[in-house]
């Protein structure tokens, strides 16, 4: 895959000396041409800062940023083949929708006829033909979002940066715009760098995700890998729901650890390469709520008592208490022929090999 953006050894700090704040440290990243790449992390972890550095609004303190193979350090935003969809949309309030969309082309000095046809094309692409002459204040938030998108796409940038573009929309509109964005990206073939703090959004939309925390990239990979093989406790906690179990190591070998489960049985779990806990010590292990299954009491790897059941429509969350009093949540798909067990019921838990993983803390 051809590399569109290459970032090596990038650091960014605000302020000087002792009071300097390190917003980004040691970022290494390469984004492929035509990729839908997502920066995911909690608020304040440096996502916007990284995006602003790529756009050219901020300069990195150290490190190299290449776009399409060329180093762009020192080039202003108007010199980079990159456009941004701002979190606040930043539509020009005194210009009509059409003028907003045509602004970039006009500044590039394109002929009037070309601007007109591209604007018409963009209006159609985001399905806003009827609103061309309205002012931004005269259209809804979702429509403003589309206009901001069309405005950024109109000059045909190599890369489109989107800073939490959907966070201001309500749930239904957000779902709609998610598939709209995927469609636009497929149709235009433009590289998307998408910022969100919503893990579900990241999982459903991205080709690859970089999970960030406190200015660092903790894990980088496709959504399945991030979900199924989180590298540490933070990633596991941030992406999806997870059961954390503190378990004792009985044996170590072959990149696996044999752990003692509540109730006395044993199971082997994958060990990350970065750690090698001594035998007898306690480690944190995880199982996703949907990767365990209820069985009859006395069977399976662990035994538990049902404390409560929460109904979620498609599935039910069973809140369990394991034998050693650790909590465990089990997600079970609802079926009319299988009523959820009443509180107080005893049941066994089984899980597939590979579901149990040891994590770096």
């Amino acid at each position: 895959m051809q590399k569109e953006i290459e970032i090596t050894g990038l650091n960014k700090s605000f302020g000087q000396g002792a009071s300097a704040f390190h917003a980004l440290s040691g970022i290494d990243l390469s984004i492929g041409s035509g990729e839908f790449f997502t920066l995911l992390g909690p608020s304040g972890c440096g996502k916007t800062t990284l995006l602003r550095i790529i756009a050219g609004f901020e300069e990195p303190s150290t490190g190299v940023l290449k776009i399409n193979g060329k180093e762009v350090t020192g080039l202003g935003p108007s010199k980079r083949p990159i456009n941004t969809v701002f979190q606040s949309y930043a539509l020009f309030p005194h210009m009509s929708v059409a003028d907003n969309i045509g602004f970039g082309l006009k500044m590039l000095g394109k002929p009037k006829s070309e601007i007109k046809s591209t604007v018409a094309e963009m209006l159609q692409l985001v399905r806003m033909e009827a609103m061309a002459d309205r002012l931004p204040s005269e259209i809804s938030g979702g429509q403003q979002q589309r206009v901001a998108l069309a405005r950024a796409l109109a000059p045909r940038p190599r890369v489109l940066l989107l800073d939490e573009p959907l966070s201001a929309l309500d749930l239904k509109l957000r779902k709609e715009m998610q598939s709209e964005l995927k469609r636009l990206q497929a149709e235009t073939g433009i590289t998307f760098v998408f910022v969100t703090h919503d893990q579900e959004e990241a999982l459903t939309m991205s080709d690859r995700i970089a999970v960030m925390s406190a200015g660092e990239i903790l894990q980088l990979g496709p959504p399945q890998e991030i979900y199924n093989a989180p590298v540490n406790r933070f990633v596991a906690d941030f992406i999806g729901d997870t059961n954390f179990l503190i378990l004792r190591v009985k044996e170590i070998g072959n990149g696996e650890a044999v752990l003692e489960l509540p109730g006395g049985r044993q199971a082997s779990a994958r060990l990350p390469e970065s750690i090698s806990p001594p035998v007898g010590s306690r480690v944190t292990a995880v199982i996703r709520p949907e990767q365990a299954e209820p069985t009859a009491a006395g069977q399976g790897e662990m035994q538990a008592v049902v404390e409560a059941a929460t109904f979620f429509g498609t599935d039910t969350h069973l809140h369990l208490l394991l034998d050693d009093a650790q909590g465990f949540v089990l997600r079970r798909q609802n079926r009319p022929d299988q009523p959820s067990p009443a509180p107080g019921t005893r049941l066994g838990l089984s899980f597939a090999p590979g579901a149990l993983r040891v994590l770096e803390d």
């Binding site: 756009a55 456009n83 539509l91 020009f92 590039l108």
Partner: protein, 296 residues
């Protein structure tokens, strides 16, 4: 809506002041402009259009039937309008970068700069104007320095010129432009500027297409705040302009003082009011129409 009636009472004190201090005197001035001048100033209660006639025309002293335009009055009118327009432009030109500088400081420092901008208001206008005089008079600071450095041989005449009046007025009215401009810029969404750069605009294009349309209300408010008091300025043209660059305010004061022609002064004052209101309506019309065209 119920219970809102009595709240109207809250503004009655202000209304009473307005009535006593503005509407009442205005009415008196309007009436005076149609009366004859008294011998020792004041008015004598005889109706005549003579004052209004003399605003525009002049009779020959020896042949009263020979009527010509009163060019002296018209010149003062024109000078007042022209100097006020120039003052407004100078203030806008100097005020914009000043306001921009303040608006782009960190929040805490902004307060300090704003405070500094208002400091001149703390000193009496008369004293400030005399200070300017001290700078620009023939043996004042500027000329002394220039002559000492040998750049000039004889002092440059700055006092009693239109330049002196412009300098004084621009100085006095500059804060009235900076403050509304600052208010407009402070409300501005600076991500619009970034969006401009992001969409390949040059600095000049960002200024023209993004920033100026955003701060336009500030310019409108600032222009009105500067132009109106400028056209009636009294102290500055009196001290720095002298008799040769008289402005409307001085002409009117002259009629109520040495001229002892109150009706003429009243007529001139009313005409000034008409000019100001007319200019204001014209200005807002023009500015407002641009907005409608954009919406097209």
């Amino acid at each position: 809506m119920r219970g809102h009636g009595w709240k109207w009472l809250l503004c009655t004190p202000a209304l009473i002041v307005l009535l006593l201090a503005a509407s009442g005197p205005l009415l008196i001035v309007a009436v005076y402009s149609f009366l004859s001048p008294g011998n020792m100033g004041g008015v004598s209660w005889e109706f005549t259009l003579e004052a209004w006639f003399r605003v525009f025309f002049r009779r020959d002293i020896f042949e009263p039937d020979l009527v010509e335009w009163n060019t002296a009055h018209l010149q003062v009118f024109w000078r007042s309008i022209w100097l006020s327009l120039q003052t407004t432009f100078i203030c806008a030109f100097l005020g914009f970068p000043t306001a921009w500088f303040i608006a782009t400081r960190p929040r805490l420092t902004r307060t300090i700069w704003l405070f500094l901008i208002t400091i001149p208001f703390w000193t009496n206008l008369l004293i400030r104007t005399f200070a300017i005089q001290e700078m620009i008079r023939n043996n004042g600071t500027i000329n002394a320095v220039l002559m000492w450095t040998g750049l000039i041989d004889s002092p440059i005449q700055m006092m009693f010129t239109e330049f002196a009046v412009l300098l004084g007025m621009a100085y006095v009215f500059l804060p009235l432009m900076v403050l509304p401009l600052y208010a407009a810029m402070e409300k501005m969404d600076f991500s619009l500027v970034e969006a401009g750069y992001d969409l390949y605009a040059s600095r000049l294009n960002v200024l023209w297409h993004v920033i100026l349309p955003q701060v336009k209300p500030g310019f409108i408010a600032g222009s009105i705040l500067v132009f109106i008091p400028a056209i009636g300025a009294y102290v500055t043209p009196r001290i720095l302009g002298g008799g040769r660059t008289m402005m409307l305010g001085n002409l009117i004061a002259l009629q109520f003082g040495q001229g002892r022609n109150w009706p003429l002064g009243a007529a001139l004052a009313l005409l000034m009011l008409v000019v100001v209101v007319g200019a204001l309506i014209f200005y807002l019309r023009v500015v407002g129409r641009n907005d409608e065209v954009r919406r097209g």
